[in-house]
């Protein structure tokens, strides 16, 4: 009996030293509690991948991820119902005010890039690159092009068939803001679908079609649609993992974020989750079809997270939204 007890003690002691040696991994396994996440369905695949891996390491932490959309996520975030909000765009001024009203401080964490890809049918042999001005001619409500010839006189006079994601999506918002600006409008005689797979099918089936969606859909359908190089002023650039990561695919690379409630970040399971997120997101983002943030920016992100730096860097002191590449805006 006594020897058994001694053996048990020894085993316990051995186990505890092993756990110390294993360091963080063992700590994760001891964590309990819950991490509640909601927001953008664009960011969802990344957060799902992180939550899956985190769940393997920290089995007793109950992680839930919802898909209410970026706006819906921020609403729940401001009501204090969730710890982390997934967002496919920076937080808006009205949303910051709502959070301030309920005394919620947040930490802004860019996690990956999505490259909006403009695609045409593979049989379209004329349109290999477009300037932002030309994209505006195709999609803008004013001076809208009826045929490809209207965009560039050297191109055939075929009518353009235009596809676009749903007007409620963050993808659409970002595209509109970059191409037309805040106050302009996208033309209304276009085919809209909430499901990007429908856009892929539409463009794949019509020689004169053009459409745009997140790069994950393009990477999966490279044989069915062809990407158009974008000339943002420094010559045409094709969307690839490299050109999106280094920022040369401009202005259609957009950052994706998670926003962490500062009060929640004091809880060990939430802090561990975000630590884990930043440690693994570079690898996991690529696996689910997105593009990682370069190490130079990611180290800034980590430093800001470690310092629990609150507030957004995408709204300036005058309350105006700040535009531009992540590398320039995010310090």
């Amino acid at each position: 009996m006594k020897t058994a007890r001694i053996a048990a003690c020894a085993a316990l002691f051995g186990a505890s030293t092993l756990m110390l040696a294993a360091g963080q991994e063992a700590n994760l396994a001891d964590l309990r509690g819950a991490v509640k996440i909601d927001g953008s369905s664009t960011v969802y695949p990344i957060t799902e991948a992180v939550a899956e891996e985190f769940g393997n390491a920290a089995e007793r932490v109950r992680v839930t991820v919802g898909v209410s959309g970026t706006g819906g996520g921020f609403k729940r975030f401001s009501a204090g119902e969730i710890d982390i909000a997934d967002a496919s765009r920076p937080i808006k001024k009205s949303e910051v005010e709502l959070a301030e009203k309920s005394k919620i401080e947040f930490i802004e964490v860019p996690v990956a890039y999505d490259g909006l890809t403009i695609v045409v049918n593979p049989k379209n042999d004329w349109c290999t690159s477009l300037t932002v001005e030309q994209v505006k001619k195709i999609y803008g409500a004013e001076a809208s092009a009826k045929t490809w010839k209207d965009v560039n006189p050297a191109w055939p006079a075929n009518p353009i068939k235009i596809y676009s994601p749903g007007t409620d999506s963050g993808t659409f918002d970002y595209f509109k803001e970059v191409v037309i600006g805040k106050d302009g409008a996208i033309r209304s005689d276009i085919s809209v679908s909430e499901d990007d797979n429908v856009l892929v099918r539409g463009v794949a089936g019509d020689q004169n079609a053009i459409g745009f969606f997140g790069c994950a859909y393009y990477f999966e359908n490279k044989s069915r649609v062809r990407s158009v190089a974008i000339d943002g002023g420094k010559g045409p650039v094709v969307p690839t993992v490299e050109s999106i990561e280094d920022g040369s695919y401009a202005p259609f690379s957009r950052p994706l974020f998670i926003y962490v409630n500062k009060a929640s970040a004091a809880r060990p399971e939430v802090a561990a989750f975000v630590d884990f997120y930043l440690k693994n997101v570079s690898k996991l983002a690529g696996e689910v079809g997105y593009v990682r943030i370069p190490e130079s920016i990611l180290s800034r992100v980590r430093a800001n997270w470690e310092a629990r730096r609150t507030g957004t860097q995408f709204i300036d002191a005058k309350g105006e939204a700040v535009h531009g590449a992540l590398a320039d805006v995010y310090k």
């Binding site: 509640k36 909601d38 369905s41 969802y44 695949p45 957060t47 799902e48 991948a49 939550a51 899956e52 769940g55 109950r62 992680v63 839930t64 991820v65 919802g66 898909v67 209410s68 819906g72 729940r76 009501a79 204090g80 119902e81 309920s102 909430e194 499901d195 990007d196 797979n197 997140g214 994950a216 859909y217 990477f219 999966e220 359908n221 996991l284 696996e287 689910v288 079809g289």
Partner: protein, 311 residues
């Protein structure tokens, strides 16, 4: 007196009408058959024990539907257990007991209107009434009033938050008008001679309803219940509003648990870029059909057990 039309014309009209009805029936059946065949064609390969026992994953081959499956079962069970007694009770009151006053007419009109309200509106109502309880307990869940331990089966919390109970009650609101209206129709179809007969033998109104009217109306009520549950199990819009999660690795353990539901998971898989996930969506649809058939099977069973011949 009009001259009768020639017999040949009348026979032709009769035949034509028969054919028209047959075509109409077959259009519906063929569309359904094509839909089911394509779903089974795509999704049958995904179905195995792993699919229903594994959680969501970024890798299609590791992904399963455990959490949404159990979430849907919990939410729909709560919905059925609350909507049926409430709905049938309301209908019995309105049909058998209430006198036709201005008040009952207003209630009746309201119910008819509510049956046509888009379900997302009920989602907003559920969010205010069940999830946040009008902010009466503060906005943060940390201030919630709790009863019992969070790990026990009988844990309760006010406000309900984004829990299976809040979701089930929200779906109850969605299907309540359908249950009430179909029960009323079923009760109206019972010949009043049956009620008069019971009354003549000295039965109280309560005995008449419980012993005569209700058993005779059970088939109609259960048909309404089947239609209502079929709607409830396919709803996703109101559940998104009341805060259904999509990714979780655990199944509900009490009424306050977080949850996911099948339609959300199916939609998410269907709109992923990778084709492997589209096959998973088809597999999810088969599982959802199976859950729906199970719920409806229970309704059919109740119908068989309770049905009494009218003679």
């Amino acid at each position: 007196m009009a001259t009768p039309r020639p017999a040949a014309t009348r026979v032709f009209q009769n035949r034509a009408f028969l054919w028209l009805c047959l075509v109409a029936t077959n259009v519906a059946v063929v569309v359904l058959a094509v839909l089911l065949l394509s779903i089974f064609w795509q999704g049958f390969g995904e179905l195995d024990w792993d699919f229903v026992t594994k959680s969501a994953s970024r890798k299609a081959e590791d992904a399963g539907i455990k959490a949404p499956l159990w979430g849907s079962i919990w939410v729909c069970a709560i919905c059925a257990l609350t909507a049926l007694p409430l709905g049938v009770g309301t209908a019995i009151y309105l049909e058998e007991f209430a006198r036709r006053t201005r008040f009952t007419r207003i209630v009746q009109t309201n119910i008819l209107n509510l049956a046509g309200v888009p379900s997302i509106v009920y989602g907003i109502l559920g969010l205010t009434a069940f999830v946040r309880m009008f902010g009466a307990f503060g906005s943060n869940l940390e201030n919630a009033v709790e009863f019992g331990s969070p790990e026990s089966l009988f844990y309760l919390r006010l406000p309900f938050g984004s829990s299976v109970l809040a979701a089930g009650l929200t779906l109850m609101l969605v299907i309540l008008p359908i249950v009430i209206i179909s029960t009323q129709e079923a009760l109206r179809a019972i010949p009043s001679s049956l009620r008069s007969g019971a009354m003549a033998l000295g039965a109280t109104p309560w005995q008449t309803v419980w012993g005569i009217t209700l058993p005779a109306a059970v088939p109609g009520i259960m048909t309404g219940a089947i239609l209502a549950m079929s709607r409830a199990i396919g709803e996703s819009a109101p559940l998104l509003v009341v805060g259904s999660a999509l990714f979780l690795r655990f199944t509900p353990e009490n009424l306050m648990s977080e949850y996911s539901v099948l339609p959300l998971q199916i939609f998410n898989w269907a709109q992923r870029p990778q084709a492997e996930f589209h096959a998973l969506a088809a597999g999810g649809i088969i599982i959802q059909l199976a859950v729906l058939l199970t719920f409806n099977g229970v309704a059919v069973l109740i119908r068989q057990k309770l049905q009494k011949p009218l003679l």
